[in-house]
């Protein structure tokens, strides 16, 4: 598989910085009371979302749980419309009716943004069934947190996908904790990829099922291989992105379950820093471009906030629309 070009990596860098600044702005707006409900930030996990989105082919699909801002932006959802959704405006991607956890774009093949742990996994199976039923070469990447691997939906969905031969890449973003409970305190099998064995899923596809989720290049390569394998074999795979979230589970998490030292240790492997160093090592001249991106992104986020703040709130008609078709 060809190494990504400089331009491609610069584009990934832009996306990751966009997500980081977006999330930081959301935290600020949450503290100001402008964003309500729950807010689950993707800070630290940007390489996974960006790497996945980059690996998808034209007609492939992505679906995820409630930590969805990063993959939504990486899937190309308009940053203004995503910010407007955060602020509960009618210009939001879900018209202000979904909120932070329920972003989606049918047009971009991004199927949400789902708030119930594991609840989206059967949906992924169903979307994949459509592709199989109509004999279309499409793969669904179903992202989930490590906590979701312990819920009943996980078992039923992986099992059905194996029995029916559905083109799904089940992808666990293992950030170490399901809310505040460490993986080895919640899962009898803490080596998560081994959970696929019980469903007869392929364990030796010719590449590692578990990869470093803090390196976008590695994520892109692993997920690309996974998609290619699924497309060729017509069977699902279960893969693991080893990642880490630098913020709490959601806003207001007291983080009693981990030490500041641990967070600081992982921060040294910040995925944005990793990519930046990699780019600069190879192409000294790129530094100015990356610095420019930083400035441009701050401006883009400011404009998104301005768009969202000046957008109208939903109306009574919005409240009662789309309950039925």
């Amino acid at each position: 598989m060809a190494a990504p070009t400089k331009e491609t990596m610069i584009n990934w860098y832009r996306q990751m910085v966009l997500i980081r600044r977006f999330e930081e702005k959301c935290a600020e707006l949450y503290q100001q009371g402008k964003i309500g409900g729950f807010l689950h930030l993707y800070i630290g996990q940007e390489a996974t979302g960006v790497g996945i989105a980059a690996a998808l082919r034209q007609n492939d699909h992505a679906i995820t749980a409630y930590r969805d801002h990063g993959i939504a932006l990486a899937m190309g959802l308009d940053v203004n419309a995503v910010m407007a959704e955060m602020l509960g405006k009618r210009t939001g991607v879900s018209g202000g009716k979904g909120g932070s956890m329920h972003l989606a774009s049918r047009e971009k093949n991004f199927w949400g943004g789902h708030g119930i742990v594991g609840g989206h996994l059967p949906l992924a199976a169903g979307i994949a069934l459509k592709a199989k039923y109509l004999e279309e070469d499409e793969v669904v990447v179903a992202m989930m947190g490590d906590g979701a691997t312990n819920i009943g939906y996980f078992h039923e969905s992986l099992n059905l996908s194996a029995v029916w031969g559905l083109p799904v890449l089940w992808l666990v973003e293992n950030n170490g904790y399901g809310m505040g409970t460490a993986v080895d305190r919640a899962s009898g099998q803490a080596d998560l990829v081994k959970k696929g064995i019980g469903y007869g899923l392929e364990q030796d596809p010719g590449f590692s099922l578990s990869f470093n989720g803090m390196d976008v290049v590695e994520v892109h390569e692993a997920v690309s291989k996974g998609i290619e394998w699924i497309s060729r074999n017509g069977r699902p795979l279960f893969m693991e992105s080893r990642t880490y979230r630098f913020q709490g589970h959601s806003m207001g998490d007291p983080e009693r379950y981990r030490t500041k030292d641990e967070v600081a240790r992982y921060a040294e492997g910040d995925p944005i820093g990793v990519l930046r160093n990699r780019l600069i090592e190879k192409h000294k001249s790129v530094q100015a471009t990356l610095d420019k991106i930083e400035v441009e992104v701050v401006d883009e986020i400011a404009k998104a906030v301005e768009f969202a703040e000046s957008s109208p709130v939903p109306t009574y008609e919005d409240l009662v629309s789309y309950v039925y078709a």
Binding site: K97, A104, S105, L121, A124, I127, L129, K130, Y133, A325
Partner: protein, 326 residues
């Protein structure tokens, strides 16, 4: 138009078959729908006729049966997913309530969920407490989906075809003890009934009985008994718990000034509670007596037949309730 006297089972089977022939995107999935032929034999022969692509046996996995049907429907197919009995639908409650009924709304209309979730309901078969419910009203609590409760072969066929053709998710509830009931049904692939229309099943001037499904049988038997005393009961079959069409009920109560609601479900927070509330709200001034409800006893159902039957409604209980309001 040609007509046939067929059972509810045959009516359901005909509806499924006609719609599968009509639309390639319609398919069936569920436990024992294929090789077995359906645990109630509704899909017998379907695997041979349509093949394993369109008649899909699943593992015993209600959460993913309901949930993957939602995903397939969102993506453009028209699944008919079967939950063998409504008791098992509790296992799939989140997929039904949080996903099937809400994905359209939550994403502001970006997705449609054109699916049917077929299931069977009802007690009276000595199956013990966990297998003996008529809890369809629970599912009618939630906006975003419809709940169908046909009580005749005619309705079963026309309503199931409507459910399959509609772009909304429909929980289609069949009564497990009524599958052999017969009625005359149009033998016409274009026979489709409207969604959310109740039906006056018997005309009468003395009392309005509002009911559905098994309650329709008890009420019809009760009306025959009452007729011998010269009491004419009007029976309104709701047919759908959501959308709930009470206009004919209001019209009837204006005429009879009395209402009894008959159902198999438990008495607390049930269909009768809702219908009673709406009757008093809409036609209070026409009532000459309090509205009465007949339902199961507020109690789990047991195994032993004699006490199971004590807990369920029957025609005599309906007769007694009617006499109280006269």
């Amino acid at each position: 138009m040609a007509e046939k006297n067929i059972t509810i089972r045959e009516a359901l089977s005909a509806a499924l078959r006609e719609e599968m022939l009509r639309d390639e995107r319609v398919f069936i999935m569920g436990e024992e729908v294929g090789v077995w032929g359906g645990t109630y034999a509704v899909t017998r022969g379907f695997l041979d006729e349509f093949g394993a692509r369109r008649v899909r046996d699943t593992p015993i996995s209600e959460m993913v049966i309901a949930g993957s049907a939602v995903g397939a429907a969102m993506a453009g197919l028209r699944p008919i997913a079967e939950i063998m009995t409504i008791n098992f639908a509790f296992v799939a409650m989140d997929a039904i309530v949080n996903h099937m009924a809400k994905v359209r709304y939550m994403f502001n209309g970006q997705f449609k969920v054109p699916m049917v979730l077929r299931t069977t309901t009802g007690g009276g078969k000595q199956l013990g407490a966990t297998h003996s419910h008529a809890p369809e009203v629970v599912f009618a609590h939630f906006p975003g989906m419809y709940v169908a409760v046909p009580g005749t072969a005619y309705d079963a066929k026309g309503m199931l075809k409507a459910a399959i053709r509609d772009d909304n998710p429909v929980m289609f509830v069949e009564h497990s003890t009524m599958l052999q009931r017969r009625s005359v049904v149009p033998d016409d692939p274009d026979f489709v009934l409207p969604i959310g229309k109740s039906d006056v099943k018997r005309q009468g001037k003395d009392v309005t009985i509002v009911t559905y499904q098994k309650g329709l049988e008890w009420s019809t038997q009760a009306a025959d008994i009452l007729a011998k005393d010269g009491i004419e009961a009007e029976i309104i079959d709701l047919r759908w718990l959501r959308p709930l069409d009470l206009e004919p009920v209001f019209e009837s109560v204006k005429k009879t000034n009395r209402a009894v609601i008959v159902e198999e479900s438990l008495p607390r927070y049930n269909v009768g509670a809702e219908v009673t509330a709406q009757i008093q709200d809409q036609v209070f001034d026409y009532l000459d007596a309090p509205v009465k409800r007949v339902s199961a006893l507020d109690n789990p159902l047991p195994y032993a037949s004699n006490i199971e039957m004590m807990a369920l409604p029957d025609a005599q209980k309906v007769v007694a309730a009617v006499k109280e309001v006269l």
